[in-house]
């Protein structure tokens, strides 16, 4: 295993000499999709918990479709499926966008995590104690002020534990990106496997790197919870 790592460590960590590969691509996939997905999820969650049935049902349909099908199938649909349509290939812009596996992966991962995160945030928004909102209304707050200063700060904090699970799941699911020819960590491991036939070492290194990042993420989120959820811990 050490010999393989000594020979291929650059490929596993950041480059094969021509392009970025391995861990750095995996982390880029994670960061981009989580940041974009969560930013979109906040307005979606507000719409999802809205009293307007039509708005709420529309967002429900989106999360239902994305949560009901596997990410792998969504990626295949976007990468091989959409690109096989003539409409897409005949337009210059869409042709250029969907030709690139990286674009498709980023789009699908962001939309997928956005669906899960929307449900997490919406659940937290709905669980806001009625008294807090009534207090805000009584203090003469507008709806916007209510969301900015009362509902969102507390709801986003309370969703931190389930949100951390979602981020780790996204990190794990970036490994399907190889299906769109993205040179992520698992793609490197597969290439090393076919070059050396040392399956255990090739996938074992990827396994160790993935685990290291997972445990770092767990540690980071524990710090975040200590900081932002300190007021919810039972008093000793």
């Amino acid at each position: 295993m050490i010999d393989i790592f000594r020979e291929y460590w650059r490929h596993y960590l950041y480059t094969d000499g021509y392009q970025f590969t391995g861990l750095i691509v995996t982390i880029w996939l994670l960061l981009f999709s989580v940041v974009l997905g969560s930013a979109l999820a906040v307005p979606m969650a507000i719409a999802r918990s809205s009293a307007n049935r039509f708005v709420s049902r529309a967002v429900w349909l989106y999360t239902y479709l994305f949560r009901g099908t596997p990410l792998f199938v969504q990626l295949l649909l976007c990468y091989t499926g959409v690109f096989s349509l003539d409409v897409i290939r005949n337009h210059e812009l869409t042709n250029a966008f969907f030709r690139d596996g990286m674009h498709c992966s980023l789009l699908v991962f962001a939309l997928n995590t956005c669906a899960y995160t929307t449900e997490i945030f919406a659940g937290a928004i709905k669980a806001t104690p009625a008294g807090e909102i009534e207090a805000g209304v009584a203090a003469g707050m507008s709806t916007l002020q209510l969301y900015l200063h009362v509902i969102l700060p507390s709801a986003l904090r309370r969703s931190l534990p389930s949100y951390s699970n979602e981020v780790i799941l996204v990190f794990h699911s970036t490994s399907v990106a190889f299906a769109a020819t993205v040179p992520d960590l698992l793609k490197v491991a597969r290439d090393v496997n076919s070059a050396t036939y040392q399956s255990f070492a090739a996938f074992g290194i990827a396994f160790l790197l993935y685990s290291a990042i997972t445990f770092s993420l767990v540690w980071l989120f524990r710090q975040a919870e200590n900081r932002w959820l300190a007021y919810l811990t039972p008093q000793k």
Partner: protein, 231 residues
């Protein structure tokens, strides 16, 4: 049916059945491993509990796809080594068996945590009163702890089941002809890629929707005898 879907209806249907079979078998194995793991963590001796913790930590650290490839290739190589040493003919692991073993091992770790949490939700007095009546530990487990544990575990088990269904899609990568593989093959020959992968996505949507309905029914069943209060 065969004229439907450009003549690939039968292939897709077969793939869908394969997917459901794989998911159900993996669920059974994962549940068994999870039950063992939870009991090992809660009631086992120190070393057994440590071993169970090692297992859940290792498995939950890495993506299921990485573990799948690691185990799939390594188990085959290990088996080849053994059969060669014993001068037997090579035994090839079938993709279905490999899929069940790998998915069962991976999700067994998640089930361990789910079931452990549910066991912890039962008041300790239940176990103690059982043993004080002279019941053996196995009896207490089967007749007192397990039925109560299932009620607490069911919502999380439902989520785990949905995750298993969705991760069966990855088994096409190690060569199982499930619904994803069928859709890809049909798409390749007819060039209607978008349509066929859409069909595969629809099959998954059907499975998850149907299991949602069954789970709601099961939750109502296990909640029988629990008083509900409307606020």
């Amino acid at each position: 049916m065969s004229s439907l879907l450009h003549g690939y209806g039968a292939l897709v249907l077969e793939g869908a059945l394969q997917t459901v079979q794989l998911a159900v078998c993996s669920l059974a194995l994962a549940f068994a491993i999870g039950l063992l793991g939870a009991c090992a963590k809660l009631f086992g001796s120190r070393w057994i509990a440590k071993l169970a913790r090692l297992y859940t930590t290792i498995v939950r650290g890495a993506p299921d796809l990485v573990l799948m490839l690691l185990l799939y290739y390594s188990i085959q190589i290990l088996l080849n080594g053994i059969t060669e040493r014993l001068h037997w003919t090579q035994i090839d692991i079938k993709p279905f068996a490999a899929g069940v073993i790998v998915l069962g091992l991976i999700h067994g770790a998640y089930f361990t945590e789910t079931l452990r949490g549910a066991f912890l939700a039962i008041p300790r007095g239940q176990l103690e009163s059982g043993t004080s009546l002279g019941m053996s530990f196995g009896h207490v487990l089967a007749h007192i702890l397990f039925p109560q544990m299932m009620r607490y575990a069911l919502p999380a088990l439902g989520n785990n089941w949905q995750v298993i269904v969705k991760s069966t899609a990855l088994v096409s990568i190690i060569g199982l002809s499930d619904v994803v593989k069928a859709a890809q093959d049909a798409g390749k020959t007819t060039t209607h890629y978008f349509f066929f992968i859409g069909v595969a996505a629809f099959v998954y949507l059907l499975i998850t929707t149907a299991s949602n309905l069954v789970l709601r029914h099961l939750e109502n069943r296990y909640d029988v005898g629990v008083r509900k209060v409307n606020v």
